[in-house]
């Protein structure tokens, strides 16, 4: 008999028991094989040790501690129900809305007059944008010319910036530094 086969018989003996023939087979092997005999002795010792080690109980008051942590079942069910319903509606409502829009306005989209009108409106919108941008450019150009002809304007702007920076620093010192720190 091979060692592995003997080992399988040992396991069977520990869990289910062996019939007479199997027990004889194992005994014959154990007489001849000292290594297996030692291992069998170790296995039996461990088996007995584990079998006779009692189960551990939690510290007294476990039930009360656990009950105190139990969630409110009904509230939880309602809450989960609401979450699932809102998730469902957030997905379903837009789909229904889009479907309704497609059915309501879909046929009109295939009329050539609509597309012609849309193209004309887009062209007019483009022209309006071009006009606005040119006006803005002209305004900026005029402002730059005026500023280059009046250097005092630059001095005034610099003074204005310095005053803003100065007051900003004073505000930080007085208000923000003395503000209470949140824990």
């Amino acid at each position: 008999m091979e060692h592995e086969e003997a080992y399988s018989l040992m396991m069977m003996d520990l869990d289910e028991g062996l019939d007479t023939r199997q027990a004889d087979q194992l005994d014959r092997h154990l007489i001849l094989c000292m290594a297996c005999a030692r291992e069998w002795q170790a296995l039996q010792s461990i088996h007995q040790l584990f079998l006779h080690t009692p189960a551990l109980s939690p510290v007294a008051g476990f039930t009360q501690r656990t009950l105190a942590r139990l969630p409110e079942g009904r509230q939880r069910v309602w809450f989960l129900g609401l979450v699932y319903l809102s998730l469902l509606l957030s997905g379903v409502l837009p789909v229904i809305g889009l479907g309704w829009l497609a059915l309501r306005f879909g046929p009109a989209l295939f009329e050539p007059a609509i597309w012609g009108g849309l193209a004309q409106a887009a062209g007019q919108l483009g022209q309006l944008l071009v006009t606005l941008l040119s006006a803005l450019w002209l305004g900026l150009e005029g402002l730059a010319t005026y500023a280059s002809q009046h250097p005092l304007l630059w001095v005034y702007l610099l003074l204005l910036t310095a005053v803003v920076v100065l007051w900003g620093g004073i505000y930080r010192q007085l208000v923000l530094v003395n503000a209470p720190i949140r824990s």
Partner: protein, 182 residues
């Protein structure tokens, strides 16, 4: 309908007192499995409580054709496996010596000498269990403290009977080698 079925039916209706009776009845097996898996009384208490909370919130999914104990222990062992995985990810050592805890008390009233021997035996058994891989530890705990058949262990561990046999075989082999070495 036995008492357990009555408690289960009441707990399903949100009766916490009825569920409290179930906790009272299963606290030792659940805590013991958590302790054998985690090797630490504090974590075992937390895991056992969490297992009961999960069971309570999932009572609707419990199939009465199976034993409640099997279902409960299945929840416990899955939660413990999750903790062991997280523990590994946090790179915490599980080889640290375990601190003594009042939970290390058997149900019996023992004298001081017997109690010392009992603690020593518990510590030795736990040390040996801790040396095993979590799935081996699980199989050994279910075999020895719950006297489960291979089929029941397979149900709790959500695996096959042959996998259970193989895990028990290897676990015992490792334990025997460690025992011989000592």
């Amino acid at each position: 309908m036995n008492q357990e079925d009555v408690w289960l039916a009441q707990a399903r209706q949100g009766d916490k007192a009825a569920f409290g009776n179930l906790i009272e009845a299963y606290q030792t097996p659940v805590f013991n499995l958590a302790y054998r898996m985690l090797g630490n009384a504090g974590e075992a208490e937390e895991a056992a409580q969490e297992a009961f909370i999960r069971a309570y919130t999932r009572l609707d999914s419990y199939n009465p054709e199976h034993k409640f104990s099997t279902w409960m222990l299945s929840i416990t062992s899955n939660y413990c496996i999750d903790i062991i995985r997280k523990r590994r990810m946090q790179l915490l050592s599980i080889d640290e010596p375990l601190p003594p805890h009042p939970a290390l008390m058997s149900a019996h009233n023992l004298g001081p000498e017997a109690q010392a021997l009992d603690h020593e035996q518990q510590a030795l058994v736990q040390q040996m269990l801790d040396s095993l891989a979590p799935d081996y530890r699980q199989a050994v705990a279910l075999r020895y403290w719950y006297d489960f058949s291979y089929e029941e262990i397979a149900e709790v561990m959500d695996t096959t009977v042959s996998a259970v046999k193989s895990r028990l075989f290897r676990a015992r082999k490792q334990l025997a080698e460690a025992y011989v070495a000592v």
